[in-house]
């Protein structure tokens, strides 16, 4: 074990600094504000620090380490050129409050990204300000809320979400002050139009839904759903976390949505960084555009004494929407993430459809291969599809309930068994509507060989003696971690007294 707080070299700092500027009078802190006790930070030299974090990294699993089929998270390869681009001069030391003529490059990239997302989603206006998917949801719901307030429809206090929705959907709507109406899914995992019709009324502000849904199924009735909600006077909100399945094939706009968020970090490969940063732009139809948070990137032909930008013939500038809800992040969003995602977009351009096609190809192939290998190994009775369907989209679910019933093997056991075989586990126990759920999303950047081998391993895990599987993982840096112990014996920081 390498412990940061064990390092306490007498004089050490890992980062020597130059001598400060010399002043005539030494600056002072007000007497009562002088720091009394220094933070008990460790003292490491650079070599110790480098070794500590190298060691930690080796105890962490990323896409670069191995297959990472975490459903709903789109763990695709993060192209390395994007990291180079994000470190070019002209981004690290750019301040969002610099004048527009200092930011023509940034503005043009923002403009290009807004435009691209508008085209891909069939929306009229995109803002890049939200910094994650959940914040995008919140932002769009806030815009819808102001839209209704503006129209005097203050009675629209409810937001409808399917029970298969991601937790952020209800949480975001509730944060904006809405009441949540949850509608149950059909037995086949799809949306229940009748249930929707039953709840959509003049109190409905919006319906939030993702398509393909969290079971990886395309909701073929989506236009009908849109019509029901619209008829009731509500707005349709598209959770874009699953955009990787449909980009270039269909769009939220075509399906009748009024607003959408994108998880750029998923669809456009911003590295997930162990939990973030992300970027959660939203797109809206024209009627919602005046309510967007500002400023937006805009451009025009130069007028008067304005010169074109250093970038092209246009002049790029910020634009404040008329009835803007204001800001959801203090600046312009995660510009650094946007630039990486711009680089990703440029790689595909008009060919983005190939990305989604291969994502869906890989998901369906993996589903096929898992069934095939399980059959070969005689363990195909231990799980069933989370939903009946001919084709899945970019991800699919399996229910481990049969294994649980027959052998006491839970989805979690299978997950841990996969860890032992060098894989990140799929998402487990989500969506809640599938019992003992495993949600598998391979992404387009995995080779057929990887998928075949994973399928074999999956089958082998199911053949493992249940006792042994309960004890998994055994090859990982630590074995099964006691989450109950953690919650009961809260230790949320280093206790110096040890």
């Amino acid at each position: 074990m390498s412990h940061l707080f064990n390092h306490n070299g007498a004089e050490n700092t890992g980062y020597s600094q130059p001598t400060p500027l010399a002043c005539e009078t030494e600056p002072t802190v007000p007497q009562g504000l002088i720091r009394s006790n220094a933070a008990r930070w460790p003292r490491l030299s650079e070599p110790e620090m480098v070794r500590h974090y190298t060691w930690l990294s080796k105890r962490n699993f990323g896409i670069d380490t191995g297959f990472y089929p975490l459903g709903s998270c789109t763990m695709k390869h993060n192209p390395r050129v994007n990291e180079v681009i994000a470190q070019l001069p002209g981004i690290a030391d750019i301040h969002p409050h610099q004048p527009e003529h200092h930011l023509q490059g940034l503005l043009s990239i923002f403009y290009e990204m807004q435009h691209m997302l508008e085209v891909c989603a069939g929306m009229d206006q995109v803002t890049l300000q939200p910094v994650a998917g959940a914040q995008g949801e919140f932002t769009a719901i806030r815009c819808i809320q102001e839209y209704f307030r503006h129209r005097g429809e203050d009675q629209r206090t409810k937001v409808i979400v399917p029970d298969s929705a991601h937790g952020t959907n209800p949480a975001s709507a509730a944060m904006a002050g809405f009441e949540i109406v949850e509608i149950p899914s059909l037995a086949d995992g799809r949306m229940d139009l009748d249930a929707l019709a039953a709840v959509a009324d003049e109190t409905t502000a919006a319906m939030m839904i993702t398509n393909p849904n969290t079971l990886g199924l395309f909701e073929a009735d989506i236009k009908a759903a849109s019509e029901i909600v619209h008829q009731a006077g509500g707005q349709m909100y598209y959770d874009g976390a699953n955009f990787n399945a449909i980009l270039g094939i269909t769009s939220p706009g075509l399906m009748g949505f009024d607003s959408v968020h994108f998880n750029l970090h998923k669809t456009f490969s911003q590295p997930h960084g162990g939990g973030g940063p992300g970027s959660g732009p939203i797109g809206v139809k024209a009627h919602l555009a005046p309510f967007l948070p500002g400023p937006l990137a805009a451009r025009r032909e130069p007028t008067g004494d304005e010169r074109p930008s250093a970038v092209d013939e246009f002049w790029y500038h910020w634009h404040q929407p008329e009835h803007s809800i204001g800001k959801v992040q203090q600046w312009h969003g995660n510009a650094g993430a946007v630039i990486r995602c711009w680089a990703y977009y440029r790689r595909y351009g008009s060919g983005l459809k190939a990305m989604s096609e291969h994502a869906v190809l890989n998901a369906n192939y993996l589903r096929h291969a898992i069934h095939r290998e399980a059959k070969k190994a005689g363990v195909d009775h231990l799980f069933i599809d989370g939903a009946e369907t001919d084709v899945a989209k970019h991800e699919f679910t399996l229910s481990m309930q049969p294994a649980k019933d027959a052998l006491g093997i839970s989805a979690m056991d299978v997950a841990k068994g996969l860890l032992d075989r060098g894989y990140m586990a799929p998402t487990v126990y989500f969506p809640l509507v599938v019992p003992e759920c495993m949600m598998i999303e391979p992404t387009e950047t995995e080779s057929k060989d990887t998928l075949d081998t994973f399928a074999e391993h999956f089958a082998q895990v199911l053949k493992t003696d249940p006792e042994a599987l309960h004890a998994a993982p055994i090859t990982t840096p630590v074995r099964r971690v006691d989450e109950v112990y953690a919650a009961r014996n809260l230790c949320l920081r280093h206790p110096y007294e040890e």
Binding site: N60, I85, V478, L490
Partner: protein, 490 residues
């Protein structure tokens, strides 16, 4: 099986059995962009066939025709890595880098030096390409790093609990307000009410408003004195509310000793929320030591460049009464089945994936990697390094104050202790002055007319560890010219 004899044949007997190349010199072909990212290009037919499908189209048979895109996306064609990088160079090169000229713009984001080791370690694939550590057994690295981050922040601000980041300083402040209301609303004599310093920058105020309006929280302001310190009479009105938000240093860079008396005035049932510039805590008292219940702040100056305003990371720390109603992810230390030290996410029942619409926050993807950069920077600095860094900031600020105080046409607005920024008054409009400075290659700070009414002739001047004497002298010289120029044209 192992072992081979590729070299067993003698001279001439080594014959290559690769595929015969069936071309002369290849003709110009279309760019193979994308292929490098899609390992199964060229294997589609094989894969489809195995599934009993005959075309890629078959994979989308479930998508009704009336919602289908027709044709190609109306976007430019794909590019290769080289083309992208050269376009990126051109576009980003059209930005004016703060590093290429004297810059005094800060106002919440601070140009700093991030040690080389930070970038090189944080970009290791195991950190960079991981996601939320749902499987702790293979995520001990990031979990432990975040647990250490929590400790570093906890020690820095003087509070026992810290989460592992929120989006940025503004959302951290906003979530602190809603958290305070959740905790104190029942006992508050001013329920659903919070008080915020009137100096809070409007963009941050706007974020607070958006986050608070859903819970119907009334945000009122606390006035300040002419010297930049908080007005104690105004503050008294906040007693009995759910929370008070103040910054130290305040948005005008003033270090306000008055904050040490606030908790006594507002009482136990009103949360004292202090927003900090984390570097200042190398020399300034930790708010936890003068009664803060929640400390928030923009983490950026520790570990991350300004990056056009994001990604950043929000600091959130608090005392125990707030623990179960606080936002964001938390790592706890635990044991594995063998009793071995191990780390995992904990207190998840507050979070959206479990509590759904009753969650304490909707946050899911956060800013872990940027927080990790912060942790790495903090680890490198150590207590002495932090003090040095804070000291460098203050020295640069003091030098700038000294030089500008002696610059004709410039007045330093607050006779106060400043950390690394301070307001000045210039001749005529601050906006015009900024333009003038800009045309002379200087980024002259923030026009305070953007923030407040009645300050259209004031600039917020920020210094950091990167400010040089030359920068300060250039600013002074140009401000003197501006003043002279203003007098002439007046």
């Amino acid at each position: 099986m192992i072992g081979c004899s590729p070299i067993s044949g003698g001279l001439k007997q080594f014959i290559m059995s690769g595929t015969r190349m069936d071309f002369h010199i290849p003709t110009v072909r279309s760019v193979r962009a994308m292929v490098d990212q899609l390992p199964n290009r060229g294997r589609e037919a094989e894969m489809l066939q195995e599934m009993g499908l005959s075309s890629m189209e078959d994979l989308f048979s479930d998508i009704p025709d009336d919602v289908r895109f027709k044709g190609e996306l109306p976007l430019p064609g794909p590019q290769s890595e080289e083309e992208i990088i050269s376009d990126a160079r051109r576009l980003l090169g059209a930005n004016a880098d703060m590093g290429s000229r004297p810059s005094f713009l800060g106002a919440g984001l601070y140009r700093n030096y991030v040690p080389a080791a930070v970038f090189q370690l944080v970009t290791r694939g195991e950190f960079l390409t991981a996601y939320t550590p749902y499987q702790p057994e293979v995520s001990q690295g990031m979990l432990q790093a975040m647990w250490e981050f929590q400790t570093l922040i906890s020690e820095l601000v003087g509070l026992p609990i810290a989460n592992l980041s929120l989006y940025d300083g503004s959302t951290a402040a906003a979530e602190a307000l809603t958290c305070a209301v959740r905790v104190h609303n029942r006992k508050a004599s001013q329920p659903n009410t919070v008080y915020v310093s009137a100096l809070t920058p409007p963009d941050k105020m706007s974020v607070m408003h958006n986050y608070c309006q859903g819970a119907e929280i009334d945000i009122r302001t606390i006035a300040h004195n002419d010297d930049g310190t908080i007005n104690m009479d105004s503050l008294k009105e906040a007693a009995g509310s759910c929370g008070v938000y103040l910054e130290q240093p305040n948005p005008l860079g003033v270090l306000d000793e008055g904050l040490t008396g606030v908790k006594a005035i507002i009482g136990e049932h009103t949360a004292l929320i202090v927003g900090v510039q984390p570097v200042s805590l190398g020399v300034v008292e930790a708010p936890g030591h003068y009664g803060a219940d929640i400390v928030v702040g923009e983490g950026q100056p520790l570990g991350s460049p300004v990056t056009g305003g994001g990604p950043l990371y929000g600091i959130f720390a608090c005392t125990k009464p707030y623990l179960r109603l606080m936002p964001g992810r938390i790592v706890g230390r635990s044991i594995d089945v063998d009793g071995k030290e191990a780390y995992c996410l904990t207190l998840s029942t507050r979070e959206q994936h479990i509590r759904r619409h009753r969650a304490t926050s909707n946050i899911c993807t956060n800013e872990t990697l940027i927080a990790l950069m912060g942790a790495m920077h903090m680890a490198l600095l150590g207590p002495d390094g932090l003090r040095d860094l804070a000291h460098r900031n203050m020295m640069a600020c003091q030098k700038a104050k000294e030089v500008l105080a002696a610059t004709p046409g410039v007045r330093i607005v607050h006779d106060a202790h400043h950390f690394n920024e301070f307001a000045i008054e210039v001749q005529g409009s601050a906006a015009a002055c900024l333009d003038y400075l800009d045309s002379n290659g200087i980024i002259g700070g923030l026009d305070l007319g953007r923030w407040y009414e009645g300050t259209t002739n004031q600039l917020l001047i920020t210094t950091t560890d990167q400010t040089t004497l030359r920068d300060i002298e250039s600013l002074s010289a140009q401000l003197a010219l501006w003043a002279a120029h203003g007098e002439v044209s007046a």
